[in-house]
Point group: C2
Chain length 341, copies 2
DNA sequence: GCTCGCTGTGAATACGTATGCCCTGCGCTG
DNA sequence: CAGCGCAGGGCATACGTATTCACAGCGAGC
């Protein structure tokens, strides 16, 4: 835009010999404007490179035509690295937003910070997309506030643990966990360790653990609590958890990491301990982040369809903004077998 | 925000027993409002969860307090995957934006599409950050238009080839390429192949190639054009280029890929051809994307400081918006030696 | 030939905030 | 005791668009 001379609908109107409201109507495709007038106006607008002022339009219409994407993490990593799994959704979210005529505001915040209402309260966005792994006990309070304020939002997470708070899109964590269990058993593994928080604070991880339990029990195997080590979703947490697991001295022949980041750390720890994957220990992750196919050996994992997830998140939110009721959606979780098992 | 009852500065004013302008002044920290009044207003505003309406504020002030981040790529990949190197900058860009009090609009577009002026023309954003590898011949026309329209923008790219068009932040591609060349020579390699477009259409790749040439000549070695294969920045392009290189039957003992994505494809092609890395062929990439340390073997590459780059991009743009003159900046490129050499 | 109704357009206004200007009252000075 | 300055705050208005309402003109029907 030229900084000096901002083109307004009045300028167009003057040149077209009509009034400002007619310009507005013509450009929005209102049928009460005759085709001849509309074409004339459109031509002039194009020529002057006129674009509707977003602020004025938003103010008048009371909608921002903008969605806000909030990545959150607790605690915030110092290196500003956004969780690669959620980052993977960005492409399809952007694409779908463009398709639906929405812009996307992006932000990266600590879950425990007080960001959650800002975007909606200040009318910067018509709705929110919440993306991140976080302690549900922290998370819940924020989400309740959003619900209380009637903010439109969708979140990616555990449908099972939605708690009636808003619309949740997620994958079938339990089925995914079960698929991992069956796969490991099929490969002859009997002592499956689990790395990841499995408490109610992390419903997704918990469900993955439960799925594993389902498979073990179905095969007549017991779930050994001694083979469960807590870990948040980071490479470092996976590394340290694996070291703790090894230190326990309880035998295990395979390892199910609640996320690929954890699995990356596990691979590093196993390598350092001289435990060869998959011969000594089979390793499975969850998420299928881009890095999963590049590890040494390539990581068997459970793929979540982030492409579809991104599209569904946007579409659901858009429908919600339009006033339609929206429902949870559970997407399939697909086992991807690679060389680590 | 409650959908029904929007809280405005008039509501606050009524409750505080002052006029609306006083509320506005108080909340913006204007010193003409007495401390007592300000505190009273702030308390009420907090209690009612009042937030300044962004659209109204933008309209009045003529600034959006928003930056637009435009990822572009040509052609657009079907899977909506944004180049991981540029994606890595997102974290620090978001962080710096938050620090400077700006929101960030994000978008992913084809360079050849007509997006480039939309954000500024419609006043959705006060400035643009351009991120992507693209054909400079396509790119140039867009950038010229931005300059012509006096749009504030910064871009990450080749400072050397800035062409006087706007402010460019980039790394020292030529020095990085030279460092790669010296490193390979030091490792006893003499026949270095280069994968990547080296024409003026891709100034960054060209400079990396030139840097390699510098090092070879310094060591008294000749640059063999037969060892140069064109490739755009993608895994597939790297894979195919490597196959073509092998098919040429010209001996080579090392391979410098113009980007890590290309290097990933090269590793795959070499593996399939039974050429062991690094014994038969040493491989070096450029960018140091997160995946680079996970490949088999881990990839030697040239790290660009994307954390600092993101911060500098935002800060430079903010200064430009403030009306200050801004300058190009070349960041260092650092060789990171891993097992692939 | 007059009215009815429809089509196309203009006039007025509201959205919520920020700012230029003016006004009031108080304290201080001479 | 009068006049001056300044602190504090109100009034009016502008930002650019979208919408409601009013209205003009024209063809059709009787």
């Amino acid at each position: 835009m030229a900084l000096s001379d901002k083109v307004t609908s009045f300028d167009i109107a003057a040149l077209a010999g009509v009034s400002q409201p007619t310009v507005s109507r013509a450009l929005r495709g209102d049928k009460t404007v005759s085709a001849a007038t509309r074409l004339r106006i459109e031509a002039i607008a194009r020529q002057l490179n006129y674009k509707v002022d977003r602020a004025a339009s938003s103010l008048r219409k009371g909608e921002a035509r903008t969605l806000a994407l909030l990545f959150f993490e607790d605690p915030l990593p110092d290196d500003s690295h956004i969780n690669p799994f959620f980052l993977s959704m960005l492409g399809s979210i952007l694409k779908t937003c463009a398709l639906r005529g929405y812009d996307l505001l992006t932000s990266f915040q600590q879950l425990s910070a007080d960001w959650h209402v800002d975007y909606a309260d200040s009318r910067k966005a018509d709705g929110l997309i919440l993306l991140g792994y976080g302690d549900w006990q922290l998370y819940r309070a924020r989400v309740e506030q959003l619900v209380g304020q009637k903010t439109r939002f969708v979140r990616y997470g555990s449908v099972a643990a939605s708690g009636g708070l808003g619309t949740v899109i997620g994958c079938d964590n339990r089925a995914g966990g079960a698929a991992v269990g069956r796969h490991l058993i099929e490969r002859g593994r009997r002592r499956v360790a689990f790395l990841g928080e499995a408490s109610d604070h992390y419903p997704e991880f918990r469900d993955r653990y439960r799925g594993l339990g389902d498979a073990l029990r179905d095969a007549g195997l017991a779930v050994d609590p001694g083979l469960h080590v807590d870990a948040l979703s980071s490479e470092l947490a996976g590394y340290e958890a694996t070291q703790r697991l090894i230190a326990r001295g309880i035998g295990f022949d395979s390892l199910f990491a609640a996320s690929d980041l954890i699995a990356l750390g596990a691979l590093r720890a196993l390598d350092e301990a001289g435990l060869v994957v998959p011969r000594a220990v089979a390793v499975v992750g969850f998420d299928d982040i881009p890095a999963a196919s590049l590890t040494r050996p390539p990581l068997t994992t459970v793929a979540q369809d982030y492409g579809r997830a991104g599209a569904v998140l946007v579409d659901t939110l858009v429908r919600q903004i339009a006033g339609e009721p929206t429902d949870h959606l559970t997407l399939p979780a697909t086992l991807v077998v690679r060389a680590s098992t």
